[in-house]
């Protein structure tokens, strides 16, 4: 095992991220991809906005829902795409090649994840735009720097969760199914559309072990002008959870590589 080589790792990261971009745009033109991102985030937000409007629940206003969904949009893009990466490689049949390369799965998938993180940023900006200009969300009191910090850290923690789900997906034949379930779970569990307190008490601990819950909470505070120190507990929890999940996924991917090499189960994909 040679030592950690920064340049080499950086090169692999750059290559695998550009590969991921090319993969995305090989099948579809870029503008269609963009149209999908724009339409999907608009209509999923619109759905909940109209439901909130119709329900007239004083706690769950249209403003409440659209802000929550803006943050959730990162999960829809970043979490789903990253969690799905290994499943796609398996589907295409490139997994044995990746495992036999000297780069290590973790580095390769991190590189591929970078593009998805950027896509997540784009989506959240667009979603906030919808929230303000179409659904009348008032962000005049918002602390922009704090919101930006929250978005970046959210993307990081979503990537951590995504990598972990992706690593589990390698073991399972049905990684894509798991990825799609996890990316929607935030809608219910993480205070996106209604307060976590509405959930049955036994479910609430699950909510608080997901980084998105803290992200939404912090974003709501930042929209009302909270400072960095005020949202520090939430940001800290996100960093902690995201970091822990990344480390865990690293061990899982390593362990998986070793397992495959030991029993030669490449055909399992």
């Amino acid at each position: 095992m040679e030592g950690f080589n920064v340049m080499r790792t950086a090169r692999i990261l750059a290559h695998s991220s550009s590969l991921s971009i090319r993969n995305t745009f090989a099948a579809i033109p870029w503008w269609l991809w963009l149209a999908q991102v724009l339409l999907t985030s608009l209509f999923s937000m619109a759905f909940f906005a109209f439901v909130a409007d119709f329900a007239g629940n004083p706690e769950v206003t249209v403003a409440y829902v659209v802000l929550g969904n803006s943050i959730q949009s990162i999960a829809m893009v970043t979490l789903y795409s990253i969690a799905n990466l290994p499943a796609i490689e398996k589907h295409v049949g490139t997994m044995p090649v990746l495992i036999s390369s000297p780069s290590g799965l973790f580095t390769i998938f991190t590189g591929m994840a970078l593009f998805q993180i950027l896509a997540g940023f784009l989506t959240v900006i667009v979603s906030l735009g919808y929230a303000v200009f179409i659904f009348g969300l008032d962000l005049s009191a918002m602390n922009y720097e704090v919101m930006a910090a929250i978005v970046i850290i959210t993307a990081f923690s979503m990537a951590g969760l995504g990598m972990m789900i992706g690593a589990i997906g390698i073991y399972l034949r049905t990684g894509m199914i798991l990825a799609s379930v996890v990316s929607y779970i935030g809608l219910v569990l993480c205070g996106v559309n209604f307060p976590v307190s509405y959930l049955p008490t036994w479910l609430q601990p699950v909510s608080y072990s997901l980084p998105l819950t803290y992200a939404v909470e912090a974003a709501r505070a930042a929209a009302e002008g909270a400072t960095l120190t005020e949202v520090f507990p939430e940001i800290g929890m996100m960093l902690l959870l995201g970091g822990a999940m990344l480390i865990l996924s690293w061990f899982m991917l390593r362990g998986f590589e070793r397992m495959v090499r030991r029993n030669g189960s490449y055909e399992a994909f």
Partner: protein, 260 residues
């Protein structure tokens, strides 16, 4: 229409589904989550509105399934290399897709029932249908109209390479404009005509009139809505036929089915 081909395609789709039934989850997950969220937001509201949400959830479930499984119907053959033998056979592609769509529709119905039962258990809305037979009849017609949209999609998706993207782009807009979870009247003005050209919107309307006391509906009443839905469904089937003929022409002229 060739009944034997359609039945064979139905059985083929069934076998495909039963060998890997867990693949229903991706088409079910969004409607499931959306229904739970809606019911949560309706927490303090009770009575007919909640019932509406439960019914709406069922419709979302049917829609998600129609979209994904019918959308993939022929694209799968292309991906799998089975389109060639299908084309070389004397069969009409549309008969094959129809058979598959009928199976998908049945799965859509079970999706709807699943969402429905789940919502009932969790939120105990206590559904009491005033006229179950009539309700069931409307439900079946609504399913047929969804299946006919599925036919159009499966043809259309073959013509465009970016079908998977289109599919995921179409899921939520229909959730919004079909009026499954909230009345169409609260939509912005420009969206309402879109609702009106979608057959399921009328099906949802007729179902709600049949199931919910005091629901007034869009306007034409239960028979009127039903009639409009049937008319639109027939129109969809004609469109699908036209699309399939176009596909066949494209394939035979250009050698490829669709480029984007």
């Amino acid at each position: 229409m060739n009944i034997r081909v359609t039945y064979a395609a139905f059985r083929q789709q069934m076998t495909h589904f039963l060998t890997d039934p867990q693949w229903i989850i991706p088409s079910l997950i969004a409607p499931f989550m959306f229904t739970i969220v809606t019911l949560m937001i309706f927490k303090d509201v009770d009575g007919p509105i909640v019932l509406q949400a439960v019914l709406g959830g069922g419709v979302l479930g049917m829609w998600g399934n129609t979209l994904y499984s019918s959308g993939w119907s022929i694209s799968y053959d292309r991906y799998n290399g089975t389109l060639e033998p299908l084309m070389v056979s004397p069969t009409n592609l549309m008969d094959v897709v129809t058979g598959r769509s009928i199976w998908n529709t049945l799965i859509g119905l079970s999706n709807a029932v699943l969402v429905f039962i789940f919502a009932e258990l969790m939120f105990q809305t206590g559904v009491g249908l005033s006229d179950p037979l009539q309700f069931f009849f409307i439900l079946v017609i609504t399913l047929a109209s969804l299946a006919s949209i599925g036919l159009i999609f499966s043809a259309f998706f073959v013509l465009t390479r970016a079908s998977s993207v289109l599919m995921s782009s179409l899921e939520f807009p229909i959730y919004v404009v079909s009026g499954a979870m909230f009345p169409i009247s609260i939509l912005p003005g420009w969206a309402i005509p879109i609702s009106y050209i979608l057959a399921p919107s009328w099906g949802v309307d007729a179902m709600k009139i049949a199931a919910i006391d005091g629901y007034t509906g869009i306007g034409p009443g239960i028979l009127g809505s039903l009639g409009i839905m049937i008319g639109l469904t027939v129109l969809y089937i004609i469109m699908a036929k036209w699309f399939f003929r176009k596909i066949e022409r494209n394939v035979r002229n250009h050698g490829t089915i669709g480029r984007f």
